[in-house]
């Protein structure tokens, strides 16, 4: 196998000159991004900068109009089968958890392994319990999402994604909807996940998390990637003016 081929298979996400419009509004402009297996990327930027849209394009919750996205070697096209194949290997955690309120915590975690991966119920339940234990919420397995706190719900949502054994995890502002005292329990789980070598792309404003686990921090503004750097230089020595302004605003108090 050539060096290039090895490198290619190590690339989990490739975004090549990706552009997206909402109607006339140009939300993503010339996005180039490469994420290798095991890399942890934090995406930050002011609201409306297109960072959520960026990661939502990776599993085609949003459709891009120009450029190429390749996920785990599979090019993202309009083909529904291929989109579903990519989604099976990409986990996603949402700002508002989006647990299924009519299903118990355990069923939330089992439903995709059972119906998408066709695992038998017993196997799916064992798997679910294993991940629920990892996010330290196994004792709530029979409850319904509405009976849990926000932090607990978000941990269940992480477990639900992990049950599909994803190659990449996308986090879309996972702590933004949480009360302050619950942010830590979710971040702890995310840090553990990062330490186990999960490939992660996180949109977040938790700069502490970025400093601890990120391999690279990406700063976006007005649909563009403005700056991309390792956390240490990114925070201590930001290059662009807009990055400096943004960092002073969120770290300043």
């Amino acid at each position: 196998m050539t060096q290039a081929a090895t490198n290619a298979s190590d690339l989990m996400v490739e975004m090549n000159n990706v552009n997206k419009w909402f109607g006339d509004f140009h939300v993503l402009r010339d996005i180039y991004l490469e994420v290798k297996r095991g890399e942890r990327i934090v995406v930050c930027g002011p609201s409306g900068s297109g960072k959520s849209t960026l990661i939502r394009c990776i599993n085609h919750l949003e459709e891009h109009q120009k450029g190429d996205i390749v996920v785990g070697g599979v090019p993202l096209t309009q083909d529904v089968k291929r989109i579903e194949q990519i989604r099976r290997s990409v986990g996603m955690v949402f700002q508002h958890f989006n647990l299924f309120p009519h299903l118990s915590v355990l069923e939330n975690c089992c439903i995709a392994p059972m119906w998408v991966q066709k695992k038998p119920r017993k196997e799916a339940e064992e798997l679910a319990m294993q991940y629920l234990e990892r996010v330290r919420i196994a004792e709530q397995a029979t409850k319904y999402p509405g009976q849990l706190s926000g932090g607990q719900q978000q941990r269940v949502a992480i477990a639900r994604s992990l049950c599909m054994h994803p190659d990449v995890m996308l986090f879309d502002e996972p702590t933004s909807a949480l009360d302050p005292e619950m942010i830590k329990e979710v971040l702890d789980v995310m840090v553990e996940l990062a330490e186990e070598g999960m490939t992660m792309i996180c949109v977040t404003h938790e700069m502490g998390f970025a400093k601890t686990v990120a391999d690279r921090v990406i700063f976006m503004d007005q649909g563009q990637i403005i700056e991309e750097n390792a956390p240490e230089p990114f925070f201590n020595n930001p290059q662009s003016e807009r990055t400096q302004l943004f960092l002073s605003q969120i770290l300043g108090h």
Binding site: L61, E84, M92, F94, H96, F100, G146, S161
Partner: protein, 366 residues
């Protein structure tokens, strides 16, 4: 500063604020205006109820077999009594009533089985109710198989026909309505346009027109050797008409489900149909129970319109009986009876839907 060193012992509520007297005070006699309205209401109730009860029960005649047995002071239930089997079976031959009775019993059994929560095997009963029961009911009612004499559909009538029309309409309208609602929300322009046109067409036309068209116009367009039974044509018309209404009810429910639910399911790799069947529909249907039952109830009452194309449902057969020269002048009794039967069925549906709402709400508030 400490307010109370010792726990304050529990004390009984003041007299006259709890119990039946408290309730009366709080709800019926709190203030002079409310008391006045309460008394006024009781008086109106008295004015209405006393003569009604006198007419319907105290002065009513129950036993007999001709109009001479009625005193004409109160209601003459003798008329309903004498015509009872017609009201139930229509013109079905009386020596074959047992066949209809079996179907009635199975129908009641299925409903009871579905409604009583303790009973097991709900899934299999549902499968039988949807697949087995219609076949059994058709074979029994229509005959022509297993040495059962044939009873053609124009002799079917009464409550039997009403229940048949209503259940076929409900069972048919729900899935068609779901498909139409999903189609109307679809991204595929052709599917969407088709569904919109279909729904708006059937919603925009009165049911009577549809029944007329089904019974009079359809045969003109079809080649003469194709002869679809009039009852079938009415059933198709009724089902399609109601499915358009059902589709709009379901669309309303679908719109109430947050977009994040579909996104979360999609992000897990679920196909469109799995997303709909496992995530969206179970939540939406739960919210739509009042709307769906409302549609069912109006469908149940709309079945009376088949009278217009010469099918004798419960109301139709009552009306036919009223024009019998031996029983002229008993229309009030006939209509009250029909209204009562309809009310029993509609009220039961309404109560059951309220029970379902409560039952499905527990456990997962959100």
């Amino acid at each position: 500063m400490i307010h109370n060193k010792d726990m304050i012992p529990e004390q009984p509520a003041p007299k006259g604020t709890i119990g039946p007297i408290g309730w009366l005070r709080g709800n019926l006699f709190n203030g002079p205006i409310n008391s006045l309205f309460t008394l006024l209401g009781l008086y109106v109730l008295y004015l209405l109820l006393v003569p009604t009860i006198q007419w319907a029960f105290i002065n009513a005649d129950w036993i007999g077999d001709s109009r001479e047995d009625c005193s004409r002071v109160g209601a003459c239930w003798v008329f309903v009594n004498a015509r009872f089997s017609q009201f139930i079976y229509g013109l079905y031959p009386s020596e074959e009533y047992w066949r209809a009775n079996i179907v009635f019993a199975m129908f009641a059994g299925i409903i009871a089985w579905m409604v009583i929560p303790r009973l097991p095997f709900k899934r299999w009963v549902t499968v039988f109710a949807l697949l087995g029961f219609p076949v059994v009911a058709y074979v029994l009612l229509h005959g022509g198989y297993f040495d059962l004499p044939r009873v053609s559909t124009h002799r079917w009538g009464g409550l039997m026909l009403t229940l048949l029309l209503a259940s076929v309409g409900m069972i048919g309208a729900l899935p068609i309505g779901i498909v139409l609602a999903l189609g109307r929300r679809s991204n595929m322009p052709i599917v969407k346009t088709f569904c919109v046109i279909f729904i708006e067409f059937w919603r925009g036309v009165p049911l009577i027109t549809i029944l007329f068209m089904a019974s009079v116009m359809l045969p003109l367009f079809l080649p003469s050797e194709i002869n679809i039974d009039r009852l079938i044509r009415a059933l198709i018309g009724l089902t399609l008409f109601q499915s358009a209404y059902m589709a709009e009810v379901i669309r309303g429910g679908l719109q109430a489900i947050p977009k994040g639910q579909d996104e979360a399911a999609a992000a897990l790799g679920m196909t469109y149909w799995k997303r709909m069947g496992l995530i969206i529909m179970p939540q939406a249907l739960k919210m739509m129970i009042p709307g769906i039952v409302n549609t069912f109830i109006s469908l149940f009452k709309d079945t009376t319109l088949v009278m217009i194309i010469g099918l004798f449902d419960l109301l139709g057969i009552v009306q036919a009986a009223l024009s019998d020269s031996r029983w002229l002048g008993f229309s009030i009794e006939g209509y009250v009876f029909a209204a009562f039967v309809f009310w029993i069925f509609c009220f039961s549906m309404s109560r059951y839907s309220q029970y379902l709402e409560r039952k499905l709400n527990t456990g997962h508030k959100q």
